[in-house]
Amino acid sequence: MSPYQLSSDRHLSRRHFLKAGAAAASGLALSGCGWTLANVRTTIDTPSDVLYLYTWAGYTDDELIKEFYDETGIRVIADVFSSNEEMLAKLQAGAGGAYSIIYPSDYMVRKMVSLDWLVDLDRDRLLGLDELFPRFQNPGYDTQNRHSIPMSWGTTGLIYNSRKLQPNPTDWDYLWDNRQQLSKRISLLNDGREVIGAALRSLGYSYNTTNIDAIRQAYQKLTELKSAIATFTSDAWTSQIITGDLTIAMCYSADAVQVIEESPGTAYLLPDSGSSVWTDTMAIPRTAPNIEGAYAWLNFMLRPDVSARVCERLSFATPNQVAFGLLPEEVQNNDSLFPPESALEKSEELKPLPTEVGEAFDLYWTRLTSG
């Protein structure tokens, strides 16, 4: 359901529409000798028994929403986005005024905090923050979780056909060493930061390097692999790994865990030289209506029993230590879902880059995907 449909919602009166219209018009306000676009901050008031979420696909299901409704009487309506940038663009364009909870990833939390888009969370109204794993209690992207609550995390790595690839791959370089045999059997994520970042990592640089020459070297290295790459995709690899059309695919651990459940001949690898670690969080945007409902949702999701159940059902990794303890042993021991600390040490969190570095990433990414 999109917010455009919201305006036909019977709860919305004409007054709200006019208010939204006025706010949208002010977004085109004159400023100096030019005008600015997309700084619209519209709140669409929603009734207190309805809560709009803007989230990734696969983080909520009917059971979770029903459980919340049974406890609080609040009806949850979840819209999904497919990238952080899409979510931010929609909010900036003034089309996200009904959302009380959004699910930005770590680097997007940093960015949105710097753009002053996220509410400072009132810690007195949150229960169970101390039950998170220590490294999620004070994460690098958001000191002391002031603006965001971690809800899921994972790594970026490779899923591969463990029957065909013997001995099993251990690091990014496997792709380069075997590019002849793997020709057109490799897919990489459709994401410049991740793909160039993996090449940077295999060259010994950081994912977040600001050294443009290092980015160029990573691009050079990727061009050597280019002829062996079937496609850049963040989702279409799933069916092709299962059917055997692809032998190895770069992916997020949460997606890999789901595919491995369906297709036992596949395995997930967190590369030895390190990878990126991501955290998806929940936050309240500045424009949020129904703040009460938003805190109710955050507290609900912070509860270990809720977190454990939903993580097991939808196969993602919980950042909640107590919830982890409630999981069945075979889930706890799933290295793809919960990699050992030693493997995580070499992995990094993606950070927002200065504009000129971001542009270099973008330029080489365009080159790589068009050449």
Partner: protein, 305 residues
């Protein structure tokens, strides 16, 4: 049919005209305003103004959401003509051209058969059958092509039975052309059908009478008559496929960046640059406008012959 070829003009038809011309200019103007106003405002607010905004944004270098819009030059256009971006634009144009040719080659015989040879009572049903795929999502249709074209897919399983080695179509340009041709074929068939249906068959008979072979009749009598239809169908397919996003993205593989995707990246990618995205959009609008201008010029001239 124009009025002049009609037998004596019927009074009821002319009456409203004479009445209208008697009315004072003001009320006629008001009537036109009432009729055209809503659509005019719609066009002005939702087409003209946004296009002008795109045009203005395209003149600002490195603008990002929230920045102040101060047009300052043509840097974005210069960037669009960098070799890298020209490759991308060129790929889009060649995909669109390939799709147009593919649709014409596949669509013409079908439209010819439906319009001239199929039993009359079947025509509407046959046309409906052609439009039917348009009722499903284009995303779904692209996904269906993945199932068919991939290495262990339907196509390769079938040709494997007769001993042909598997084709590597998926993730290569041929897959994009197949997907796009499939997507836009109905438009071509519909327009060619409309054009072929009006074909003057007496001319075909005359041509045969005067000793032309069937290929000669086809090339020198049929094709010139339906040329406006070919031009209109070709341009419609060219224009829509130029902006296609889904087929290159899903079927094209690792080297499938097109203008549509590049524009998308400037707005929803990791390093948004609205100015550059707007410049690319303006160029795309220009390309399409040129195509439409060609249609108006050549489509019309031949229609009058």
């Amino acid at each position: 049919m124009s009025i002049t070829t009609n037998p004596p003009p019927e009074p009821p038809k002319l009456k409203p005209q004479t009445e209208a011309s008697k009315k004072p200019f003001g009320s006629r103007w008001l009537g036109q305003l009432v009729l055209l106003g809503p659509a005019g405002i719609w066009l002005l607010l939702l087409l003209v103004v946004p296009t002008l905004v795109i045009l203005e944004l395209s003149l600002v270098a490195d603008i990002r959401p929230g920045d102040v819009v101060n047009p300052d030059g043509f840097a974005n256009y210069l960037r669009a003509f960098a070799p890298l971006n020209l490759t991308v634009i060129g790929r889009s144009i060649s995909f669109a051209l390939g799709t147009t040719i593919g649709c014409l080659i596949l669509g013409f015989p079908v439209a010819y058969w439906i319009a001239l040879q199929a039993p009359k009572k079947w025509r509407n049903l046959l046309l409906l059958g052609f439009i039917l795929p348009l009722w499903t999502s284009s995303l779904l249709r692209s996904y269906a092509w993945i199932t068919i074209l991939r290495r262990t897919g339907v196509l390769n399983s079938i040709i494997g039975i007769i001993g042909i080695p598997p084709l590597e179509l998926m993730n290569e340009p041929p897959a994009v052309l197949i997907g796009m041709t499939y997507s836009f074929l109905p438009y071509m068939v519909l327009i060619l059908y409309a054009s072929l249906e009006k074909l003057d068959r007496r001319l075909l008979e005359a041509s045969a009478d005067l000793g032309a072979t069937p290929p000669e009749t086809f090339l020198r009598v049929t094709v010139p008559q339906v040329f406006p239809g070919i031009a209109a169908g070709g341009l419609l397919v060219f224009i829509t496929s130029l902006g296609d996003f889904i087929n290159p993205e899903l079927l094209g593989g690792a080297s499938s960046m097109t203008v549509a995707r590049l524009i998308y990246n400037q707005f929803l990618g990791q390093t948004p640059n609205w100015g550059f995205g707007s410049a690319l959009s303006t160029l795309l609008i220009l390309l399409v406008s040129i195509a439409i201008a060609l249609l108006l010029k050549y489509g019309d001239r031949d229609a009058k012959v």
